[in-house]
Amino acid sequence: MATYYHRAVQDIKDNGFLSAVTIITIALSILIVSAFALFFTNANNVMNHWKKSARIMAYLKPGISQKNFPDIKRKIQEIYGVQDVNFISKEEAFKKLKEQMKRQSSILMNLNENPLPDAFEICMIASSQRDEKIEEIATRIESLPSIEDVEYGRKWLERFTNIFDLFRLAGYAMGGIFFMAAVFIVANTIRLVIYTRREEIKIMRLVGASEKFIRGPFYIESIIQGTLGGIIGIAVLFITFKLISSNVEHSFKYELLNIKFLSPEFYCGIILCSMFVGWLGCYIALKQFLKA
């Protein structure tokens, strides 16, 4: 094994340019695929966070007396799936709106009366965070006579999910294309190396070298190239991520943009995939161009 390894390292040195091209190609493929993975992982986390924090706002009809509020709250709380109900008076809501629209306060100043309705903010239990369950609860709340309207932001979340799924599909397709491209490049590199060393391989066979002895270093060589390509790809992504995320964190403090790098399990998996790319490229090349 040590002999194979030394010969593989020597081959990489002897064919420096070809090896560099292979490593860079694998690194670029890994970089692009990992960048997609990073985006999807974070987007998925954000969406899960949004889904978990989904709330229903139930707006009361104007003119409902304050003494009816406890009764309405009780009726909402009795609905299965509701965890917590908070009353938000129209005054409180108006105050919050003013705080949020500090720069446009002149618009609100000109209003003669508070246009906002009294409302209940409803949180659901964990098992009711699914879209269809939220819709069911919202319909039941809406059917209460004192309720004028309910809002739970389902439509935009659904639209976002659809777009996200489309992106995910494009990501898979691109991942597949880059995987094939990397395999093809590795196979081609090994093929060129075999071609330049065909006389040497012939001599090795004549002096009694087994196929394992001839092929072993090629496999090790391509696995080394795959590993290096994978590590470089992940390293470049990590550096880029650090640069971008530090800028984003300075600009935004929202929880929504609390982006994270890929987990160690995930990037170890990517490096393993990269090693597999090297191995597969070599396997194809040897099968086609190194017939015993």
Partner: protein, 229 residues
């Protein structure tokens, strides 16, 4: 009878034919080589000497007939066994067949690496063999920088380093001056003295005269018996 049980024989050929298309390279060759034989296969250029040697290490297959090498029937040998067959031979090629990008050491060490020997053993053994053939000082040189005689000595070193059972030498002195040819001949004789079997294909009558082994004469692909020296 082909049973490979003749203990004194190391190579047996039975009615071997070799064709290249319609051209007959070897015709009905039957041959017995005993252990520790020193055999010359002589004949003019194109007589089929090199072809005959190639059939022995499965450089190419026979068209008809059977070949037995050290008990292995070459017609029935599996692909995986071919390296084991070739390790029984130390082959000295007419054109040396040294790897031009590898040093003298690496070229000779290749045989031992291929048979899975340990690095330390390889280091020691290769140096010792290179010393024997008188080329140790060029251990780190690349073959293209060596003279013909030096390259041939490296080829001999590579042939003997794995302690094979048989040495096949194809025109081993073909392009060498008489001093270099004598060195090569002495190396082959040394191998023979230590119990090895040597088969030399050559048309060099001087070499045959000096060596004094068994001689077979090949003409137009047919074995004609002892050579007219």
């Amino acid at each position: 009878m082909i049973d490979g049980k003749d203990k004194s024989s190391i190579i047996q050929m039975f009615h071997v034919h070799k064709y290249y298309g319609s051209k007959k390279a070897l015709v009905d060759i039957s041959l017995n080589v005993s252990k520790n034989d020193f055999l010359f296969i002589s004949g003019p250029s194109g007589a089929g000497k090199s072809t005959l040697l190639r059939l022995l290490y499965l450089g190419e297959p026979v068209s008809e007939g059977q070949v037995l090498v050290d008990g292995m029937n070459l017609s029935r040998i599996s692909r995986k066994k071919i390296p084991f067959l070739r390790r029984k031979f130390g082959i000295i090629f007419q054109d040396y067949k040294l790897i031009s990008t590898k040093t003298v050491f690496d070229n000779v060490a290749l045989v031992l690496e291929a048979s899975g020997k340990k690095r330390k053993f390889i280091e020691k053994k290769v140096r010792s063999v290179l010393r024997t053939v008188g080329i140790e000082r060029r251990i780190n040189a690349l073959p293209p920088s060596l003279s013909g005689g030096e390259q041939q000595r490296v080829a001999v070193a590579r042939a003997v380093v794995g302690v094979p059972r048989i040495i096949l030498a194809d025109e081993p002195t073909g392009s060498l001056d008489s001093d270099s040819a004598d060195i090569i001949l002495n190396l082959l004789k040394g191998f023979h003295t230590h119990g090895g079997t040597v088969i030399v294909a050559t048309h060099d009558k001087e070499l045959i005269r000096k060596a004094g082994g068994r001689i077979l004469y090949l003409k137009q692909g047919r074995l004609l018996g002892p050579a007219p020296i």
